[in-house]
């Protein structure tokens, strides 16, 4: 008698288990269904091992010559125009020789070179100090093309990267930038209060086969290409001209070269 009762109870228990496990099995079935998508690059996307830029400073005489390049960049990336110097946001801007190349400033320089405007931007270093400083990996060096990029979703606004960057290439949004954007480019997001931002080497344009906005606006004075392709235009320019880089002695290996 007892053994039969036990058997019945066992069966009941087992069937209860079978019934209650249905939602779990369903959940797993759904998981499997989710894996079927793919992601890929666009057909026209430009690729490189390490993007680099060569700026021919001989072609720029005054800051006015740099204006259209800066304007092109700041317009498409929704960079706000803040008058207060402490709140200023800049991706690309003109700098005096002594500030751009403080370790190289010799005495009795050619006045023409000394007074040339130098266009400075994020150097997309090969050994970026900002990436090491970031505690959330919001800033990272992209494996696929060497761009030092920011994931604004992840930035907590600690500004370690700004302290780490020897080039002052990063700006912090002390205020909500939206009211200060003159003309919003609706294709590109803005930023919010409390995140750091900087030049992204126009990653969104490279993805659709376009050159960076400043390069396009420079009409040949700026050259952009793959640093590790010996046949590339940038390599040709670096080979045939004397070029300098900003604060090279610090070992971050900047990827923006200046022909002087």
């Amino acid at each position: 008698m007892d053994s039969i009762r036990r058997r019945v109870l066992q069966l009941l228990g087992l069937s209860a288990l079978g019934l209650t496990s249905k939602p779990i099995r369903d959940a797993f079935a759904q998981e499997e269904e989710q894996v079927k998508y793919q992601t890929k690059k666009g057909e026209n996307a430009l690729t490189a091992q390490q993007w680099a830029m060569v700026i021919d400073t001989r072609a720029f005489e005054s800051e006015g010559d740099l204006e259209p390049l800066i304007e092109a960049c700041h317009k498409i990336h929704n960079v706000p125009q803040l008058r207060n110097k402490n709140h200023e946001i800049k991706w690309i801007w003109p700098e005096h020789y002594h500030n751009a190349f403080p370790l190289k400033a010799g005495r009795f320089l050619s006045e023409e070179v000394e007074h040339r405007p130098f266009l400075v931007l994020c150097n997309h270093c090969e050994n970026p100090s900002c990436v090491r400083a970031c505690p959330t990996k919001a800033t990272f060096k992209r494996e696929s093309d060497g761009i030092v990029l920011m994931d604004f979703h992840r930035c907590i606004g600690c500004r370690f990267c700004m302290a780490a960057c020897p080039f002052g290439a990063r700006s912090f949004n002390f205020r909500d930038p939206r009211p200060f954007i003159r003309e919003t480019n609706k294709q590109f997001p803005t930023r919010m209060k409390g995140v750091v931002e900087k030049c992204n080497f126009c990653a969104e344009r490279l993805a659709v086969g376009q050159m960076p906005a400043c390069v396009e606006a420079s009409e040949g004075k700026l050259t952009f290409g793959d640093l590790y392709d010996p046949e590339s235009e940038v390599r040709e320019l670096i080979r045939t001209n004397y070029t300098i880089r900003r604060k090279q002695a610090l070992g971050t290996d900047p990827c923006v070269y200046y022909i002087v």
């Binding site: 989710q34 992601t39 890929k40 996307a45 994931d151 979703h153 919003t184 294709q187 997001p189 930023r191």
Partner: protein, 133 residues
């Protein structure tokens, strides 16, 4: 056991407070749930019939999908999403999602408000690319 009365009164008050959401709901809202919001589709969305994934998947998992998108676009430099049925989409909240669902107030906000979720997408991503500024 002389505190029996006090203990019972205390317990009654305790249960009344604990059950506040229940009796408040029955007394003042008639015990009925707030009506679920209705999704409004734009003409363009209606004409397209299918979204990036099935409607059921999109309703339940659109946040996971967007998470995959942002990871892929920013970190892997891959901007095309090929859905299981083989169709490719540009992964962009403002330029792809809101291209069809250009009625953010009726399509996104209504449901988010109902569920009391406050996504901060729109702090940076622009509401509606087609809307005139």
């Amino acid at each position: 056991m002389s505190d029996k009365k006090l203990i019972i009164i205390g317990l009654v008050i305790f249960f009344i407070i604990v059950a506040f959401p229940l009796w408040y709901h029955f007394l003042f809202h008639g015990g009925k749930a707030a009506p679920a919001p209705e999704l409004e589709l734009t003409d363009k969305a209606k004409a397209a019939k299918v979204c990036v994934r099935s409607t059921q998947y999109m309703t339940a998992e659109h946040m996971q999908l967007l998470d995959v998108w942002r990871e892929s676009v920013v970190r892997q430099a891959e901007r095309i999403y090929v859905s299981p049925d083989g169709k490719g989409y540009n992964m962009s909240l403002s330029n792809t999602c809101l291209d069809c669902h250009s009625n953010k107030a009726e399509f996104c906000d209504r449901c988010h408000n109902y569920a009391s979720v406050r996504p901060y997408c729109w702090d940076c991503h622009i509401d509606n690319p087609k809307e005139k500024s």
